[in-house]
């Protein structure tokens, strides 16, 4: 992982945060871009809590994680993305704790000189975060609370990257 205290225009920084608090994507994007004229492309992804999953109404979601390993796993995923694509900045914010439908859960932003690298790295980060970072979702539905099962589609998405 790059030293986040000394970004350069073309190498940027990796910034990984795991916390309960919500985040402001407009502010985060502005901070990431601030004054860096080497950036030509910013690809971002926001994962949002829906009110329905597997056909059932979801009233709330609780996200548990493995403190310490979470940051380590996300750092390793970011390093892997940097090894594959020529990106400038990588920002990953993942919330934990209690969330309601329409709440933001995760934010990934990648800056690069060109759009192809930004898009690829952003989608790669999400696919690997979904399968390699120790987060677990528990949903509150009318039938009670239940742990969300891992999706085969997520393994398939991560598998695409070879």
């Amino acid at each position: 992982m790059n030293d986040p205290t000394r970004p350069s225009a073309t190498q940027g920084r990796t910034d990984i945060r795991v916390h309960e608090a919500d985040f402001d994507v407009g502010h985060e994007i502005a901070q990431l871009r601030a004054g860096n004229a080497a950036i030509g492309a910013v690809a971002t992804f926001i994962g949002v809590c829906r009110d329905i999953n597997d056909g059932d109404h979801v009233a709330e979601l609780v996200l548990e994680h493995y403190p310490g390993m979470t940051e380590k796993a996300l750092g390793a995923i970011a390093d892997e993305a940097r090894g594959r694509w020529d990106v400038i900045d990588i920002l990953i914010i993942h919330r934990v704790g209690r969330m309601l439908p329409t709440d933001q859960i995760v934010f990934v932003a990648v800056t690069s000189a060109h759009r192809g690298e930004a898009f690829a790295a952003c989608e790669f980060l999400m696919d690997f975060l979904k399968t390699r970072a120790p987060f677990w979702k528990k949903e509150q539905t009318p039938a009670g609370s239940r742990w969300v099962d891992a999706r085969e589609a997520d393994d398939a998405a991560a598998g695409r990257w070879g």
Binding site: E64, Y66, M69, H94, I105, P134, F135, K138, W147, A150
Partner: protein, 84 residues
């Protein structure tokens, strides 16, 4: 000593989120530790059955059955991850 952590569904069904144990005699890798825990019987043999999709991390890195375990390690048992 080993520091063992349990997360998500496993934490609930096994009724604990952490425990400290002496490194059991003859346990040198993940497979052996899982066998040792499974030998506790009841929910342990059910939840840690080979047919269950249980994941293991050693010192906060994803591990395999043959990943070595040494005294002082932090071992975590958990279901497949579902974040993001």
């Amino acid at each position: 000593m080993l520091n063992i952590l349990y997360f998500a569904r496993l934490k609930e069904t096994l009724g604990r989120d952490t425990e400290r144990i002496e490194l059991p005699a003859g346990v040198a890798d993940v497979a052996a530790l899982t066998d040792w825990l499974r030998a506790r019987g009841g929910v342990w043999s059910e939840e840690l059955a080979a047919s269950r999709p249980v994941r293991v991390a050693v010192n906060q890195d994803m591990a395999r059955h043959d990943t070595p375990i040494r005294d002082g390690d932090e071992i975590a048992y958990f279901p497949p991850v579902t974040g993001g």
